[in-house]
Amino acid sequence: MQWRDEGVVIGVRKHGESSVILELMTREHGRHLGLVHGGRSKRQQPVLQPGNIVDATWSARLDEHLGTFRIEGMTLRAGEFMASPMALFGLATLAHLLRQLPERDPHRDLYESLTGLLANLTDPDLAPPLFVMFELSILAEFGFGLDLSACAATGQRHDLVYVSPKSGSAVSADAGAPFRDRLLRLPRFLVGQSRDNRPAPDDLRDGFALTGYFLQRHVFEPLGASAPAERQRFVALATVETGDAA
């Protein structure tokens, strides 16, 4: 068995004295693990850092085997991420979320969303809204996508300001007014109403609260887990008033 694909490094675990077990999120083969011989060498270690995009060739005698990876670096951004606490905590959160996906199950749209986010992860203006959208994509991949296109009560497509915590559907301002204490706030940047380059910190907090609520309910709770502490740190840095988080 052999294939070649592009992937993002999401985790590396030591194996023996010179090898590592590499965890990649690949474009065509989903989250995939494999052994890298000599992965702890001076030449390989900088390439096998989380957040780097690599060209991977996987081979094994049988499909169900762990197999081995032959790796070549493509876009190595780990060094750039190391200078930004926001990027590092974001990266740890991304890896944690991706690790909840089943192995070897392709998620092409999610992969595109991931690489788009990684390209902007050190940008304090672009990274936070992209991160919220990535979390929405993860929810959709788990089968719990939110319907933010129309009001669940009236069907109208404008003035959408709430999300129902039960159905995950948008609710308009008028229909939601009597229940607003029980509804989640829908930030404007998720319905294309924000013209600013960087959404307001309150909008970003609403966005993270929205995805955080559904991730906890649909992804973490069934596993008896909770969101990683790194997410809290990322959200705190991503929603500061000025753009100096990075």
Partner: protein, 201 residues
């Protein structure tokens, strides 16, 4: 099944040696045979040294270094600058810095770095000891001598937050071109870091 060629004592010696880093069963067998051949000059002294080490070595309660006394020889050294505290991941990093002679400061061994994948969380590391040491009067600078890996630098940023309320300067090691390094062979991340942290010449 392979028949044993030596008695249980020798087999046990081989099994124990095979657990050491860098030794497999075959090389452990060679090492055991070498020790047996040099019984007077090597096996005896080694066995004595190991017994003494096992009885006397303790972990320094102040910095986490290993020594035969607590506090360790580094913490007791009056010539060391008490204003500088160097934070390292492991005792091997402390020894590496000492070998280089680059700094004459005091140390704190964290005992690892944060790693969600390996389940290493803040409560597993010596952050309590770090805050206590950094809060001591006279400490002016904390140098984060952690590995230039994503996990190492995540830990460094975590520590920076943790010490934010203290009147100490927090610094980290520079990232860049190693001595003897050729630019053509360096990864993009190292090159970017080297350019960002360039100095006047």
């Amino acid at each position: 099944m392979a028949q044993s060629v030596a008695g249980p004592e020798i087999e046990r010696l081989i099994q124990l040696l095979a657990r050491l880093p860098g030794l497999g069963p075959r090389s452990a067998r060679r090492a055991a045979l070498h020790l047996i051949k040099k019984r007077e000059t090597l096996l005896g002294p080694l066995s004595d040294a190991m017994r003494v080490a096992s009885e006397r070595i303790v972990v320094c309660t102040s910095c986490g270094n290993v020594d035969t006394s607590d506090p360790c020889i580094i913490c007791r050294d009056p010539r060391r600058d008490p204003a500088i505290l160097v934070v390292v991941e492991d005792v091997s990093d402390l020894w590496a810095l000492e070998r280089s002679g680059a700094v004459t400061a005091r140390y704190l061994v964290l005992g690892g770095v944060l790693s969600p994948l390996d389940g290493i969380r803040p409560e597993h590391l010596n952050f309590e000891g770090l805050v206590a040491r950094a809060s001591e009067p006279g400490v002016a600078e904390v140098i984060l001598a952690l590995n230039a890996t994503v996990d190492g630098q995540t830990t460094a940023h975590y520590i920076t937050d943790l010490l934010g309320h203290l009147p100490v300067k927090v610094t980290r090691l520079a990232h860049g071109v190693p001595v003897g390094g050729e630019l053509d062979y360096l990864d993009d991340g190292t090159l970017s870091a080297a350019i960002r942290q360039r100095t006047s010449f």
